[in-house]
């Protein structure tokens, strides 16, 4: 549907209805991963490597198995061999083979009749290690003489002669770079570094797995994607995929970190070995931090040329990223987002992915984009400051619009970058007076958004209410937004629609709730499925009236003759049609299976005011503004929630959060006390402006809002600190000691 054909007069879209899962969640009834129990259930615990890199010489479980109530121990020997590619990576990450590759890497697991007993038994499993040289820092890992972590892991993209830990190499761009830089009045190049951070979902990974000798299995698990859990577990364990049924629980946050598996295959392996009894595994917070997906750390060289009037003439980005001991860091996403906001005649991107002795990186909200934004948006700010230009004016001058060539190649379809910049400029926060030691920072961010495999079914109940079955777990209110779209399409009250997130047996495959796709993809699919059901209801009414189905319209929840020529019949309400369905042809339903096209990319602009204490280096966020193009806000409160949550995570990444590894290669801050995420008193209210440049590829204009919001905060905060102090920090986190040192350096103190 084209933009101008959309009906602006929605009844439900854009209203702030109550979410359907609210009551369960405020009363403690909602069941998350660790809340599931099965009859006869055992409890598991994992044994994890205390070494960053060590050969596993011997595992002896004799003493553990001698304990009364210990039912099974598994090691890598209990998993199939011969896996390749990503299947092998998953298996190796879930359970170490010959070598433990990072501090926290699982080497064995045990199941017993109680959780305490399982933990006791895990301590009795003896593992003999031969420590190997390790490397955890990205810039060390790329050195030619770094300890080689996995010789032979480099893929086809790596030219000969690269250092041993480089496993992926990437380069792209367009235009004449030298000419572009030659045209500039000012060319600046800097290096920026970001540390790995964790998604930090408050609910640790948890599952109950059951697997019989017949190869049939069940799993209840907290996940962003039950079909991903299914194929990954099947691959890791050598099972037939369809024999495994995976039921998602309510999910206590994911942010990308629950799109893959860690303990899930272990619970199935333990169950199989314990005679098919279900086995529950719940990770501790320290295991979550040590062994589940943080994001990559990055070291980034950026060079930008600009004319005195602010016109950018060329850009170059060379990034090095480590995503742990496995390939899979978000290198190409980072590079493709780096200059996405800018119309550049010449641009070059080069990327190196490096292995290091750290946990396998998992996706984290707009994977790669925040790091890239930190580098590019910081340097744009540095140059604008040098030229005395307003940061929003510089961005507007170079902003990409519909039809422009993106930095990564294709031309943009409908986008709303300019609209977000204009809205930020017009907002009161951008004119708020600043006091001493205070500064304002601006940055933009980009995310592609995503469609992915999508299956949805919907059906009309006997009383004319509707059910929708979707495969995308609801992390941030997607059941509310899906319910709104289906109710709007059907013309019935929102309360008459129930949206269920269903298990793998109920639908065709679905990608997880990732890539900001739940409301876009499941939403588009649900609307298409609903339109099928509406067409069927029109057919039923037509048959009843003895007219052609084409002569029936669907208006406000009822079939009615399309015009005076169609005949004179009173509208037939949905409840009436539904009530008769068994005698008019049976069930009324609709479904969608496919890859919904028409993804709409999303830009955002953030403005932050900070105050920096010159004595301590502590940064206080005074005001924070998120402006982002949502396409269409189906449920504005949950759109704002995504903006605010993304901003808070980005602020944490900017100011405090970081993986800290010791000389010994062990993670030193594996707990919420030392891995400190923002708390309520660290933040002000987070102001939001929802820009709506409807996505023509979605029936209601949705773009997807989950990810873009984490991208601008890293540079926005850095730019604000620079404005407040005159000190430019090019390395995260910008915690008080770092800021203090930077202030001292500029003041010569």
């Amino acid at each position: 549907m084209a933009k101008d054909e959309m009906n602006p007069a929605f009844k439900l879209i854009g209203t702030r209805v109550l979410r359907p899962d609210g009551l369960d969640k405020v009363t403690g009834r909602a069941r998350y991963g660790a809340d599931f129990a099965a009859p006869g259930m055992l409890f598991g615990a994992a044994v994890r490597s205390p070494h960053a890199h060590a050969r596993i010489k011997r595992i002896d479980a004799t003493r553990a198995l001698a304990l009364d109530g210990v039912k099974a121990v598994v090691t890598r020997a209990d998993f199939p061999t011969g896996l390749t590619g990503e299947d092998w990576n998953l298996q190796e990450n879930c359970m170490a083979g010959d070598v433990a590759l990072y501090d926290g890497h699982a080497v064995a697991a045990v199941a017993a009749t109680s959780a305490l007993l399982a933990q006791d038994a895990a301590k009795l499993i003896e593992v003999e290690y031969e420590p190997l040289p390790h490397v955890t820092d990205v810039d060390d890992a790329i050195k030619p003489d770094a300890p080689a972590i996995r010789p032979g892991a480099a893929d086809h993209s790596v030219p000969d002669g690269m250092p041993p830990n480089v496993v992926r190499y990437f380069e792209f761009g367009h235009g004449d770079l030298d000419a572009g830089f030659a045209e500039a009045d000012i060319v600046r190049a800097q290096t920026y570094r970001t540390e790995a951070t964790h998604q930090g979902y408050i609910e640790p990974q948890a599952c109950v797995g059951q697997l019989g000798a017949d190869g049939k299995g069940e799993m209840w698990v907290t996940t962003q994607g039950q079909w991903y859990v299914r194929w990954m577990c099947a691959a890791v364990l050598g099972l037939e995929t369809a024999q495994l049924r995976v039921t998602p629980s309510e999910i206590g946050g994911g942010f990308g970190g629950k799109t893959t598996v860690f303990i899930e295959p272990l619970s199935l392996a333990l169950s199989r070995k314990a005679g098919g009894k279900p086995v529950k595994l719940v990770m501790s917070r320290s295991d979550v931090l040590r062994a589940t997906g943080p994001t990559a750390s990055a070291s980034m060289d950026v060079k930008i040329g600009m004319k005195a009037d602010g016109t950018m003439t060329a850009g170059r980005a060379e990034f090095r990223m480590q995503g742990g001991a496995f390939p899979g860091s978000p290198l190409n996403e980072a590079l493709e987002c780096a200059f996405a906001a800018y119309k550049l005649p010449a641009v070059e991107h080069i990327g190196h992915e490096v292995l290091a002795n750290r946990p396998k990186a998992a996706a984290y909200r707009a994977p790669g984009a925040p790091m890239a934004a930190f580098a590019v948006e910081s340097l744009v700010d540095e140059i604008a400051r040098e030229l005395g230009l307003d940061p929003i004016a510089v961005r507007l001058k170079n902003a990409v619009r519909e039809g422009d060539r993106s930095s990564y190649g294709p031309r943009y379809k409908s986008i709303g970058l300019v609209e977000t910049l204009e809205a930020a400029k017009a907002h009161a926060n951008y004119a708020a007076p600043l006091g001493p030691n205070q500064g304002r920072g601006v940055a933009t961010g980009y995310w592609f958004n995503h469609n992915g495999d999508t299956s949805v079914s919907m059906a009309i109940a006997e009383d004319g209410t509707a059910q929708v079955s979707v495969g995308t777990p609801d992390i941030g209110g997607s059941r509310a937004s899906l319910g709104l779209m289906v109710a709007e399409t059907l013309g019935i009250p929102y309360e008459h629609v129930r949206v269920n997130v269903v298990e793998t047996g109920a639908l065709g495959i679905n990608e997880p709730s990732h890539g900001s796709r739940a409301t876009f993809a499941s939403g588009k699919a649900a609307v298409i499925a609903t339109e099928q059901a509406i067409a069927e209801m029109c057919r039923r009414a037509a048959a009843e009236w003895g007219i052609e189905p084409e002569a029936v319209d669907w208006v406000e929840g009822a079939a009615q003759p399309a015009g005076p020529n169609a005949g004179k019949f009173p509208p037939m309400k949905i409840a009436e049609i539904a009530g008769q369905m068994s005698s008019t042809g049976g069930p009324i339903a609709g479904h969608y299976e496919g890859l919904p096209e028409g993804v709409g990319a999303s830009f955002g602009t953030h403005v932050v005011d900070v105050e920096v204490d010159p004595e301590t280096g502590r940064t206080t966020i005074l005001r924070y503004l998120v402006v982002q193009d949502a396409g269409r806000a189906i449920h504005p409160a949950y759109v704002e929630g995504q903006f605010q949550g993304g901003a808070a995570q980005g602020i944490g990444w900017a100011l405090n959060e970081a993986y800290i590894y010791g000389e010994d290669g062990r993670l030193q801050n594996a707990g919420f006390l030392d891995y400190r995420i923002p708390v309520a008193c660290d933040l002000p209210m987070i102001d939001t402006v929802i820009v709506e440049v409807p996505n023509p590829g979605h029936p209601y204009g949705v773009r997807g809002v989950g990810e873009t919001g984490i991208t601008p905060p890293l540079p926005a905060v850095a730019n604000a600190i620079a404005a407040a102090t005159g000190a430019r920090l090019r390395r995260l986190p910008m915690n008080p000691p770092a800021v203090l040192a930077a202030i001292k350096a500029v003041r010569g103190g």
Binding site: D155, H156, S157, P159, Y169, F170, E171, F172, G173, Q199, F255, G256, G257, T259, P330, N332, E333, E336, A363, Y364, R365, A366, P367, Y408, G409, P410, R411, Y412, K413, W447, F448, N449, H450, N451, H514, G515, S516, R517, L595, E597, G598, V599, G697, G706, E707
Partner: protein, 80 residues
């Protein structure tokens, strides 16, 4: 004929070419033709790529490529 824009890192595998012209009406035909023209691209395409057709990122092999469309090959994206 479809002109496919590759990322420049692939030049090593295409004898230095960064745009490759192939005969193809769908994404799948385009990918197969690319592999035929430059067998070195096979592992890249196997790992998974996306195509952008006139700015729209698509993954399906059967998606049609309209005549005169601008086509870019991209690494497959993931999201969080």
């Amino acid at each position: 004929m479809v002109e496919v824009h590759l990322w420049s890192g692939l030049k090593r595998l295409t004898d230095g070419e960064i745009t490759v012209a192939v005969e193809a009406a769908t994404v799948g035909e385009m990918l197969d033709a690319l592999t035929r023209a430059h067998p070195g691209l096979a592992p890249v395409i196997e790992v998974g790529v996306s195509a952008a057709i006139d700015g729209e990122i698509v993954n399906g092999r059967h998606v049609a490529i309209p005549p005169g469309a601008e086509v870019f090959l991209l690494q497959r994206l993931k999201g969080g």
